[in-house]
């Protein structure tokens, strides 16, 4: 059989058919992706999020966006569940680990994001929306003197207000400026993702899907797709997934694709 598959196996100088190294590496990656999506999908969401948070913390700065994603796209009770699971799994609180391992201005943001237990009802105070949109406006205006992520008011608003309130602040800002908050935050990547996940989650999901399914996505970007598919439950993702169905059909292969499509179908998209 091996002799017939010249693409996969090649003749070695010691007279046996060796796996073509590049092909083997690819296969391993594909199977790992398959394994990852299965394991992630079956795990209890709280344990899943706790483990994801721990892993991102270990990996360091390039993975802090995962912390943002989890803390900002989960409901208040889901995030709380992750904190409980973290206690059980690691005998520490997530906030103490984040506070110990992250330095700088991002520490304040990330610790506060993980500690939030946001109100989820419909009530929004208009006065606060207006003054807080103004606070954003001022922080962005002064961003040449001080990074927006170091503005205490911006961090306070983003880490304590309800998502509905934040969406209204986002809208209100558009009345004050011809650029959106997200457009203004191109430099402050982590802060930008925070605002995206909280105020316009659809744009976040669309962006992650798009990058992961493009031709030159790196490992982390592809992993982001797996993670989103396995951890987001319908809701905000529905519209986004529909857009990418065809590309998933085209670009993703094999067992991994079957699982992806299966998981997406299960969530009733």
């Amino acid at each position: 059989m091996r002799k017939g598959c010249s693409k996969l196996f090649c003749e070695d100088e010691h007279q046996f058919e060796r796996w073509n190294h590049a092909v083997l590496t690819n296969l391993k990656a594909e199977f790992k992706r398959f394994k990852d999506v299965v394991v992630l999908s079956l795990m209890h969401p709280w344990e899943r999020d706790a483990r994801l948070l721990k892993k991102s913390l270990k990996k360091g700065h390039e993975q802090y966006n995962v912390i943002v994603e989890i803390t900002c796209t989960r409901s208040s009770d889901q995030l709380l569940g992750a904190r409980k699971a973290y206690h059980s799994l690691f005998d520490r609180s997530i906030e103490e680990d984040l506070a110990s391992h992250i330095k700088g201005s991002e520490r304040k943001l990330l610790v506060a994001l993980v500690s939030a237990y946001r109100y989820e009802g419909p009530k929004v105070k208009e006065d606060n929306v207006r003054s807080e949109a103004k606070a954003f406006f001022n922080a962005i205006k002064n961003s040449d003197k001080r990074k927006v992520v170091e503005d205490d008011e911006v961090v306070r608003i983003l880490t304590t207000r309800s998502k509905l309130h934040l969406k209204e602040v986002y809208e209100q800002y558009n009345k004050l400026s011809d650029k959106t908050i997200i457009e203004e935050l191109e430099v402050d990547l982590l802060l930008k993702e925070t605002v995206e996940c909280l105020c316009t989650p659809q744009t976040y999901f669309t962006r992650v899907f798009g990058v992961a399914l493009s031709g030159d996505a790196n490992e982390d970007e592809k992993k982001a797709l797996t993670r989103l598919v396995a951890t987001q439950e319908g809701g905000e993702m529905k519209g986004v997934v529909a857009k990418f169905e065809r590309r998933i059909e085209e670009k993703v292969k094999g067992a991994y694709k079957d699982v992806l499509v299966g998981v997406l179908a299960k969530d009733g998209k």
Partner: protein
Amino acid sequence: MATLTVPSAVPSVSEDCEQLKKAFSGWGTNEKLIIDILGHRNAEQRNLIRKTYAETYGEDLLKALDKELTSDFERLVLLWTLDPAERDALLANEATKRWTSSNQVLMEIACTRSANQLLHARQAYHARYKKSLEEDVAHHTTGDFRKLLLPLVSAYRYEGDEVNMTLAKTEAKLLHERISNKAYSDDDVIKVLGTRSKAQINATLNHYKNEYGNDIIEDLEADPKDEFLALVRSTVKCLVYPEKYFEEILRQAINKRGTDEGALTRVVSSRAEFDLKIIADEYQRRNSVPLTRAIVKDTHGDYEKMLLVLAGDDDA
């Protein structure tokens, strides 16, 4: 340990409601009946009474109490009747409002409650005030106070006994350095007080004492006028020996000229079903006088009676 006593043969809920209704009817109010019933029911029983009272008489028991009672007695009964989560939410909300603002009460609630009790308070806050506790605390406090209070009210501390001794050493050293430099609101101080488990903080402070000779509290007394420093001191006390903190609050409330009924009411109503016995023991140890005797000396009337019942004085 709690000081609340509940009779072994508790009347049925409908009986309790009937008696309470009787207490409100006719001329005046039968305060003794109210004290006898509500003062001897635990949180679950009180919740059931409220629910049944509303179903039977179409009125919120708390509103009825508000109508019938006055002054310090009313406040005590109202605070007591609420369940712990709602009580904490109410106290916290008051503490963020301009005229009743109190960083100390916010810290007290955040640090003396268990992780789950604090969580339930946050949930009750959502339900009652249609916003989160942390957004109110963040919005109404500033500077160093906000820097300390926000993590305190947002914490969901690990509650196990696992302690890392190496970490305790490192953090004791860190705290000592910061305190020596008077950097009381430094990020690292906030990190320890705001995120570590109570067991871990305890280990750290024990190590602090062993290594540097002084109790950390002594080292936090540098400037008596520094309000933030005072809050940091109280935070430490609340986290590692709350009974000493509460004893001090009670002592100040009772001993000063006149009485600070606000503090007395708050401590008795919020601790009676938890650790008022331990606090009372500490009070006796420190002042050579039982807490109940001090209450009798300093208060009177129905207010005094209710305080005594909640403090476990069965003769009241």
